[in-house]
């Protein structure tokens, strides 16, 4: 059976020896990985989420996330790490959406719909064609932060570093791109290339977030922290820092709740974040006070 040998979740450092290690130590290791995964996911979603929200490409991101399921399926089929397959598929679908929206007359939301559906259908087919049982399928769909193997944490770290590097290098360019694309073209900025690079960053973020909330719920971590942060500042840098903070808060809070209540972690993280966001939007007084103190500072 392809797939069995490389089942990613069982490739965690403990492997067979894991059973021999004391339960407490095992939990500690899992917890440490979960915290690291949560932190890396927060950094990715904090930075890229701000771009996604202010550039209004939330549904392009949703499309990329769902199309990545095709890559997960391909991973199972080929017997490689499904996350690698997802990385390949999300990058490819991001760039395809970019090319379609900027070089053809096909509307963006049509392109999103097509790629979204084709990606998921391919995933279903690949998994059907893979002999035997697809382990941990649910964790890719709905997230499973407690079982992220260390090898995947390293991959997440690498992707987050790439995202940070791009953002630092092109901060000024992306501020123009998000604010007024036409002006960017007028001053001779390579608008199209930067837009493609942004889609690639979104694709990388999707891969980082799959581990935490699953591809179906990726859109939540891309939007909630940024939407939350937007209420407190009108400086994009500060908005990113705050979004990272809120992302971590949502992840930790949701994780703790899921542990206490015995609920699935991904969905609990999303619902916790959603509740906090809704409450904050419903308390304009608090919001206004924070804005005033932000201006005074």
């Amino acid at each position: 059976m392809p797939g069995t040998a490389d089942r990613p979740r069982h490739g965690a450092p403990q492997g067979l020896e894991g059973t021999l290690i004391m339960l407490e130590a095992l939990q500690y290791e899992f917890m440490r990985n979960a915290l690291m995964a949560g932190l890396l996911a927060s950094v990715a979603c904090g930075i890229v989420g701000v771009y996604v929200v202010v550039k209004k490409v939330v549904f392009i991101s949703g499309g990329i996330a769902h199309a990545a399921f095709g890559g997960v399926g391909l991973g199972y089929f080929l017997g490689i790490n499904p996350i690698t397959g997802a990385l390949f598929f999300s990058l490819a679908s991001g760039l395809t959406i970019g090319v379609i929206t900027s070089r053809t007359r096909i509307a963006a939301d049509t392109a999103i719909g097509v790629l979204w559906a084709i990606g998921m259908a391919l995933g279903v087919l690949f998994i059907y064609l893979t002999p035997g049982y697809a382990p941990d399928l649910m964790s890719y769909l709905f997230g499973s932060i407690l079982t992220v193997p260390f090898s995947d944490i390293l991959l997440m770290l690498a992707l987050v570093l790439v995202i940070i590097a791009i953002t630092v290098a092109f901060y000024k360019e992306y501020l123009i791109l998000c604010f007024d694309e036409e002006y960017g073209t007028a001053v001779g900025m390579p608008v199209e290339k930067l837009y493609f690079l942004l889609l690639a960053m979104i694709a990388l973020t999707v891969v980082v977030l799959i581990q935490v909330v699953g591809m179906i719920l990726v859109i939540a971590l891309l939007t909630f922290p940024a939407a939350m942060a937007r209420q407190f500042t009108h400086d994009m840098k500060k908005m990113m820092l705050l979004a990272v903070l809120f992302g971590f808060l949502f992840t930790l809070g949701g994780l703790w709740l899921s542990y206490v209540l015995g609920l699935p972690s991904g969905a609990t993280i999303v619902l916790f974040g959603g509740t906090v966001l809704a409450a904050s939007l419903g308390l304009p007084r608090v919001r206004e006070r924070y804005r005033q103190s932000g201006k005074a500072a």
Partner: protein, 252 residues
Amino acid sequence: MNDPAIVELKDVRVSYGEVPALENVSLTVYEHDFLGIIGPNGGGKSTLLKVILGLVRPHHGSVSVFGRPPGQVRSRVGYVSQRSFFDRDFPASVWDVVLMGRYSSAGIMRRYGHQDRHQAEKALAMVGMLEHRNKQIGSLSGGEQQRVFLARALVAGPGLLLLDEPTASIDSTMQTEFFELLEELKYSLTIVMVSHDIGAVSVYVDKIACLNRQMYYHGSREITPEILEATYKCPVQLIAHGTVPHRVLKEH
């Protein structure tokens, strides 16, 4: 004319697919001109500006800006578009927006430096918006926003300023203030302004060009109703004469 030519267009033809936007348009803008381009909607006014900016390549004819192909001189050309459609909640301050105008001076991947900030301060002071530098751009009124966008166009220290319907979305008091600001600037700059507001154009500019796919008139600002009728292809009533605003009765 001793002033050197800043912009020179010769027999420029542009079409979008089958639809011609500009046909055999020739235009010369000299240094310190304040030229107003008027004409009906869809008459190719914005396209003409895009040709000068180097964003649209003519299918025929030649374009030179500061004696060079457009696109090579972007840092010497300032551009203010019709009110840009950004989100009012967008996380950028007035200061952030003005600094965007230093993009071509700073270059890709470079941070804005001391010189960039100094120029941004000067430009904001020039349009009277320096005290609002830390405000969120979306919190300003339409007229204030256009002043900031004007500062953004001025911050690179351009020799040529291109304005595309700069007052289309602001109220009339603000419009007057904006045009008075331009009047001060015209002594140090060459300005080309596109507008369908014949009244405003005839009051503030020095030269007028009438454009409706072809150039109907190009010269001093004293234009006759006949020229306007030929441009707009419909009757245009002069409410008064001289420098008092005219009104287009029907656009077609």
